[in-house]
């Protein structure tokens, strides 16, 4: 069964600091990879996605992620965070298999950005 691991449960940064949130997955086949953000009191929103091609993916709000197949990783980065980036971030994996409907989410990382 596939699983997704997000290494940091809670990250606290000051504004303008750089961000990297780790995401590793366990699944041997082809995958689709996603990062979602959930702002306080709001619904899940897609930040970025990887299907194929360039492993460096750029998303909304200055976020990017790099797919490293050999490491089964899809880490999220942002060079300079803002107070408004305070939210919960979820990494998700959808396999390219017969069970293509099944998304597996990581447990999430809560990011707090101090002004």
């Amino acid at each position: 069964a596939q699983s997704v691991s997000q290494h940091n449960h809670h990250v606290i940064l000051s504004e303008a600091a750089s961000l990297e949130l780790g995401c590793n997955y366990s699944y041997g086949g082809t995958v689709n990879l996603f990062w979602y953000v959930q702002y306080p009191g709001q619904h899940l929103q897609l930040l970025l996605k990887y299907f194929s091609g360039d492993p460096l993916v750029k998303g909304i709000k200055g976020f990017e992620a790099e797919f490293i197949k050999s490491k089964f990783s899809f880490n999220l980065r942002k060079p300079s965070v803002q107070w408004s980036d305070t939210a919960e971030y979820f990494c998700a994996v959808k396999p390219g298999s017969t069970n293509a409907g099944k998304s597996t989410f990581g447990d999430g990382t809560t990011l707090t950005v101090k002004p």
Partner: protein, 117 residues
């Protein structure tokens, strides 16, 4: 704007009293999903519909059922809610299930927070 709508946003029910949560979409997507998200945990897929084809996750309790009467609507029925079923329930849609395709991208509703007394 095309979107995923969930009603109600907050639902309170009594222990053992059946409850139905509603989801509708204006995206005309083929796939609709229901997730359960407990506090500080990852969303957990309960089941999904591809058109009228129902796909239940192996570990989804029998207490949870779903109906999709048409493309736009999907319902989550909890037959006998227990205290452990208190959670946020998320509905999502995607155009399809094709791998390595934007069809796979999910759009989430705002969720319904269920409280069981």
């Amino acid at each position: 704007d095309a979107m995923v709508i969930q009603n109600p946003r907050y639902q309170v029910t009594q222990f053992g009293k059946p409850v139905t949560l509603s989801c509708s979409q204006t995206l005309n997507h083929n796939v609709m999903y229901w997730y359960q998200q407990k506090s500080s945990q990852a969303p957990k897929l309960l089941f999904h519909y591809y058109d009228k084809d129902f796909n239940n996750e192996a570990d989804t309790p029998d207490n949870f059922q779903s109906r999709r009467p048409n493309t736009s609507f999907c319902f989550l029925d909890i037959r006998s809610p227990g205290l452990g079923d208190a959670a946020m329930y998320l509905c999502a849609t995607s155009k399809g299930l094709a791998v390595l395709s934007s069809y796979n991208e999910q759009f989430f509703g705002p969720g319904t927070r269920l409280t069981v007394l």
